[in-house]
Symmetry: D2
Subunit: 115 residues, 4 copies
């Protein structure tokens, strides 16, 4: 994923419309949660099977909500100069420590060794 | 951003812990909204200036919440074979149409022409 | 439910701690969404049957999250002098209009006539 | 607030439309979070002053979102036989313990004594 290119598209889109004044981190956090709920809305009344097998229309809708979430998430990253890729990899390492794996003898398995 | 690599890390992490059974799209949508609120929580009592200038500790916390959101978002993409980069670019094109730009004479500016 | 009494408890609690300065509507909206997600968190990995039959511990936890949501909701009502009971009854009337009922002959049933 | 009456209205509304099958607690939790975000959406781009002084139109919109949230919250209470008033009062007592008050000499003030 070409993050630099995407960030540039987002930056230009907002600057061209003079929307940067609204896009402070507190507002962006609210907007992020609103978009996330628009994704949740797609699934709210579905059972697990229906949710796992969305119609093409709903899948198209889902894609758009996923994009909206990603855009606000990147916008927050841009404000704080956060490298999203690094942030994800570091967090997954923390998760590995938080939820360690054990081999059959009960010995802890070091990160990245199982697969 | 090397999406394939990150998706593999996420996939292995879940498979190794036998968590795939929980990670159906309906549950993932709920988890995504929970993580988003953990990000919102950082900002809830701050004014705009405090929010824009987080301490290093809070910024580190923010990074982790951003990563959690991205991981669940990618997990949903993986379920439906959604290409996140494509989804973002397509959505930004829709946004360009939804919120068109006009030049000084009032003429609509075609996508990508202003910058 | 004695709303006046509850509102007084909430008002005193906040005033005694000098927290009114944080409890503006924008912040309260964020806090409301954070508390709602703490309720969602209880259910996120459960199937429908597990969700419908919470353990006593989880039910106690649920009660506390419900209370937190209600408190912030009332706090927002208090700011705008909104009467919660009236708001609910008026909204349910709108819902009746939005989703009308029909009798067997296909005739629209007037509000409140079916039961 | 006449909770019994309101609960009856909600119950009839859902039963008349055969919607009870959708209103299990997991789905209701999702719907609650969706409605909460519709309230958040009203405030997302506003500064504190704008948020504190909504136009009549927006205040009317706010009322409806508040009602929607309350309805789903009560629907969850109804499923588990939770008494909302009791839940709020008990939670406020816990909050008093969690955030104790102190008099000028630094002595802890007992619950309900300050006002």
């Amino acid at each position: 994923m070409d993050i630099k290119k995407i960030e540039q598209i987002i930056k230009d889109f907002s600057a061209n419309r003079d929307w940067d004044k609204f896009h402070n981190p507190k507002n962006l956090a609210m907007a992020l949660s609103v978009e996330t709920s628009e994704l949740v809305e797609i699934f709210q009344w579905l059972d697990f099977e229906q949710a796992a097998n969305l119609s093409e229309d709903k899948k198209e809708h889902l894609k758009q909500e996923i994009a909206d979430i990603a855009v606000y998430l990147l916008r927050i990253c841009m404000h704080y100069n956060i490298n999203l890729e690094e942030a994800i990899i570091n967090k997954m390492k923390l998760n590995e420590k938080k939820y360690p794996l054990f081999d059959k003898s009960g010995k802890k398995i070091e990160y990245g060794k199982k697969n």
